[in-house]
Subunit: 208 residues, 2 copies
DNA sequence: ATCATTTTGTTCTATTTTTCACAATAACAA
DNA sequence: TTGTTATTGTGAAAAATAGAACAAAATGAT
């Protein structure tokens, strides 16, 4: 099994680049076009494809249509991915209002909150009481959740949604959560992203 | 020079874990405590420290105080980092309202937008017209910007703030920007984060 | 039909990152 | 003291990742 996260991220980048090329009217693409488009090497592009059994044509490159089909299937984009947001605060509601996920086949179908003031069943993405999360996840077959609750509540909320049937969590709270058995947690830690950026700005400044 | 991004991210994690341990009353820590706290191995903790010339005491572990001092200095946290947000829309204003950066010594000092309706010079974090960004960056010595403008405007806005003196950009637009000479761009691509999570949820589901 | 050219797919090589292993040594106990 | 134990610091080994190189195949030119 593939465990290389970077490799999967590259597949997403290839996919995005291919849509751009397709929009520009291209029908086929060579490994080095794609490498240029995402900032890698041609061999890596071919290696990545070969890992997933994707093949092109000697001298003819890759047919963009069928390449996209294969990448989309690998990335699970052949079906709409329904996602919930837990915690309808600042970040949570920014995400719920964001239309950009839809073009990626990702649809935020509901938010959940413990604060009664946040509940709104009639907004475009309804915000429901947290108590309903289990039933909702079960009856709608949701597997992915975005967790955007305050730090202090994050572990408890993660446990709850795992028990409710969620299999993957994108966590915004800046702390390491313990994942329940059978649930994957990926973190978006903006504090650390900024710290990282600051570090590299500092070192390039010094060495120059 | 260190080019390993993961290593720097681990330093941030150690730092965060050390604050938690300090709060719990701990004074010293061993490499394997830290490894447990951040989910790594003890040798990696020691190796990471050794890369930066951080040393502890045989049999005595590391003094949390002085370890934190060293990590904070490496991570540039011995001075307040002033950051601007470019694009005061959904994501941009969620970030400007977020108080969590302050405890990390990161302060969002202003937002910038082209939409006159978004301008507000008297809010806690003032939102200023984009035309003022260059003067502001220069006179306040800002080096870091968060870019939260629509995709279509992102490259142009990145170019503008680089010319204005910004050295590091945390970009939220889901596309690869070309960095101007002397400017580092790190991307937070939530579409790709979700795609990645979905991929790994799918494969663990299948292989089980 | 033959040859030159282009581009893939894969093997082989290099680099990077992680882990292992253990000598060195500080702390403590007898 | 002397010995025992715990833990660091690091060099060597292993694993993972990336890159280069090139034979094989397809295309098109002559
Ligand atoms: N806002 C940002 O820009 C930002 C940036 C980086 C990280 N974060 C992190 O994202 C998380 C959310 O931040 P925010 O600014 O949106 O906070 P917020 O306070 O605006 O929103 C949190 C929401 O979660 C709800 N909530 C609390 N406990 C809950 C529970 N157990 N179950 C469900 N809902 C619950 C609250 O009622 C509230 O609506 C925090 O962990 C924060 O550290 C936020
Ligand atoms: N909102 C989300 O949850 C979310 C999630 C993932 C990615 N993103 C990305 O983040 C970016 C911002 O998203 P958003 O939802 O906040 O958009 P938004 O439309 O709410 O806000 C964008 C803001 O940028 C301003 N703007 C436009 N051009 C500008 C320019 N040249 N200079 C300065 N300001 C300018 C607009 O006036 C607006 O206020 C987009 O690239 C989007 O794809 C957003």
């Amino acid at each position: 099994m593939i465990t290389n996260k970077n490799c999967i991220i590259r597949l997403s980048r290839y996919k995005n680049a291919l849509y751009r090329l397709q929009t520009l009217g291209f029908v086929k693409v060579f490994s080095d076009n794609l490498a240029d488009a995402v900032g890698g090497t041609a061999s890596q592009v071919r290696k990545d494809f070969s890992i997933f059994g994707i093949s092109g044509n000697k001298k003819g490159g890759y047919q963009i249509d069928s390449l996209l089909e294969k990448l989309n299937s690998i990335l699970g984009k052949d079906q709409l991915q329904k996602v919930i947001v837990v915690g309808a605060g600042h970040i949570g509601s920014a995400l719920m209002r964001y239309r950009g996920f839809e073009k990626e086949g990702i649809k935020i179908v509901a938010g959940f909150d413990i604060d009664p003031a946040k509940i709104n069943r009639s907004s475009p993405v309804p915000v429901l009481p947290l108590e309903e999360v289990k039933a909702f996840v079960k009856s709608n077959g949701i597997r992915i959740a975005i967790l955007a609750v305050p730090d202090i509540a994050a572990q408890q909320a993660a446990d709850l949604i795992c028990v409710s049937g969620i299999k993957g969590i994108l966590n915004f709270a800046p702390l390491g959560l313990k994942a329940a058995e059978g649930c994957i947690i990926n973190n978006v830690n903006l504090e650390i992203e900024l710290e990282n950026l600051i570090y590299f700005v500092n070192v390039t400044e010094k060495t120059k």
